[in-house]
């Protein structure tokens, strides 16, 4: 009996749970992908609500709505949840759905570990959100968890450390699964240099995760022992060094920045060729550029620490190594533009978000170059310029690529086309709202407005009011996104297998919606 036929018989021999237990016990990569995406959506609305609360307080100078300590909890939790609860799980959702489909593999390499990697995440999310209700409230020292503040707080700080451990474990298990799947389960003939770019970017991202998540786990473990077991890793009074935490933390957190953006590069590199109806320009250079960004990400961490008093030689090294990253990033932007050059382009919603990604992410990258210049950074450190910079990278970069990817693959996942008119409304309101929110923050930062403070001087009022209006436009337009996704799940125009005229790759050879089990027999790639 062939392997495929055997798998078929085996499948029928099992009793499959239904209802809630189907989702709790599932080992199917498509189910787990959906769970990750649903979790990310719920967290997006939770952390997004916090963002709107922050912007409401900042609509006027003075303290109107929240106590300052609660405001600090909002900024901290908004950051932690958006990074660990939204962007990372959303990309894991894409990886679970798409990597096996793109490789012609029947599932991930370790389906049971895949189930665990997801189901410990909601526990961490519950701890983080639940810590608002503990004595003293949630953590308020910033998402970077710097000591000494993080050593001094109440019980919610311990709970946050536990949540970070859980989320790190989940990421490591997910990464082991992804790397093992990609290296061992590709369809015959699908060599590494023939893989879709989304798979390439996730392979490199997974290596970054394996290399950096244990470092974060080590750092928060030291925080935990400093808090509870009398060690003095970061406590200056006992001979420790709080700046050492910053070094260890940013050794994790700068590669983390690329963990949040490399899969976005992958998604955009799938979408632009489809809607330009041309193969991706410079495939090999895209792979090498992604790898270079990953390697360079390990030698730039101290550009987050120019004001800690490091020697000028150190400042120069980290300044120039940071600027070096602009080279492979520039290669990528060039390739996306060159792919569109003389293409037969159409502008469906995924393409609109992808083009916005290329334009707006480049603005975020450029302000990153400005911040990389050490003497400039010493002026701009902890101002709204930094807030503007990383929101251009993470909102119009990471989040827009997630929207683009959802619109692109939703017909494959649900079997129904989404409503294109509503999609365009979602795009334009998001793109305009996002720019109204974050562009004025560049000016606020250049004028000296500090971040993470609930009050500000009168001269900052107008730009803050503009930003708050933009934030509400951007925030409420996400309800359109929710409606579109729910509508497509419920029904709509049936999608064909190929869905998009210019789409190529193995995932478009299976019917829409993708059957529960795909590629029981491996396809052959030529």
């Amino acid at each position: 009996m062939s392997d495929a036929a055997h798998a078929h018989d085996h499948d029928h021999g099992h009793h499959h749970p239904t209802g809630l237990m189907r989702w709790v016990t599932t080992t199917n990569h498509k189910d787990i992908g959906s769970l990750y995406l649903i979790f990310a959506l719920v967290m997006l609305f939770s952390a997004g609500t916090m963002a709107l609360m922050i912007r409401s307080e900042l609509f006027e100078p003075g303290l109107q709505i929240f106590r300052p300590e609660f405001f600090n909890q909002l900024t901290t939790m908004h950051g932690l949840l958006m990074i660990f609860g939204v962007i990372m799980p959303a990309f894991s959702g894409f990886a679970n759905w798409q990597v096996p489909l793109m490789l012609g593999a029947p599932d991930m390499a370790f389906p049971r570990m895949n189930n665990w990697a997801f189901w410990i995440l909601p526990v961490a999310g519950f701890f983080l959100l639940g810590s608002f209700f503990l004595p003293g409230g949630a953590v308020a020292g910033g998402w970077t968890m710097y000591p000494p503040l993080f050593i001094q707080g109440g019980i919610s700080y311990d709970l946050t450390i536990l949540a970070v451990h859980i989320m790190g474990l989940s990421s490591i298990m997910g990464s082991i699964n992804i790397i093992t799947t990609i290296l061992n389960m590709r369809a015959p003939g699908l060599t590494l240099m023939k893989m879709p770019l989304f798979v390439w970017t996730w392979l490199i991202t997974a290596y970054l995760l394996i290399a950096t998540m244990p470092v974060l786990a080590g750092a928060v473990t030291m925080l935990l022992t400093d808090r509870n077991f009398g060690t003095h890793f970061f406590n200056a009074a006992g001979g420790g060094d709080p700046v050492m935490f910053q070094h260890i933390f940013w050794f994790f957190a700068h590669p983390e920045v690329y963990i949040l953006i490399l899969p976005a590069f992958g998604i955009v590199s799938q979408i632009i060729p489809t809607f330009a109806r041309k193969p991706l320009f410079g495939y090999a250079s895209m792979v090498y550029a992604t790898s270079s960004i990953a390697v360079l990400s390990f030698i730039v961490w101290a550009h987050h620490m120019f004001t800690t008093g490091m020697p000028v030689t150190g400042q120069l090294f980290f300044m120039f190594s940071t600027m070096l990253i602009a080279v492979p990033t520039g290669v990528k932007v060039f390739n996306w533009v060159a792919t569109m050059w003389k293409g037969s382009m159409t502008f469906e919603t995924p393409m609109l978000f992808a083009i916005a990604f290329v334009c707006l992410f480049t603005i975020g990258g450029f302000s990153g170059l400005v911040l990389a210049i050490a003497p400039v950074d010493i002026q701009l450190q902890d101002t709204y310029y930094v807030v503007a910079h990383f929101h251009y990278v993470l909102v119009s970069g990471a989040l827009f690529s997630i929207f683009a990817g959802v619109y692109y693959w939703l017909p494959k996942w649900t079997g129904h086309m989404y409503n294109e008119t509503m999609g365009k409304w979602h795009f334009w309101l998001s793109a305009i709202g996002m720019n109204i929110t974050f562009f004025p923050m560049h000016f606020l930062g250049l004028a000296g407005m500090p971040r993470r403070i609930p009050d500000y001087s009168l001269q900052f009022t107008e730009f803050n009011q503009v930003a708050t209006v933009g934030a509400f436009i951007f925030g409420f337009s996400q309800l359109i996104f929710l409606a579109i996704v729910l509508k497509a799940i419920k029904g709509g125009k049936p999608a064909t297998a190929q869905v998009w005229e210019g789409a190529t790759g193995l995932e478009w050879t299976v019917p829409s919606p993708a059957p529960y089990h795909t590629f029981a027999t491996a396809p052959v790639v030529r």
Binding site: I176, I179, N184, M185, P188, P214, G218
Partner: protein, 32 residues
């Protein structure tokens, strides 16, 4: 491709050992 279980587990164990090693190295390097 029906991947061999040996190759899959070898990849996974190597990656897990790498992760554990980095975790321990981070903490041990903090004991200066």
């Amino acid at each position: 491709m029906a991947a061999s279980n040996f190759r899959k587990y070898r990849t996974a164990v190597l990656l897990a050992v790498l992760a554990l090693g980095l975790f321990l190295y981070t903490i041990l390097s903090g004991l200066h």
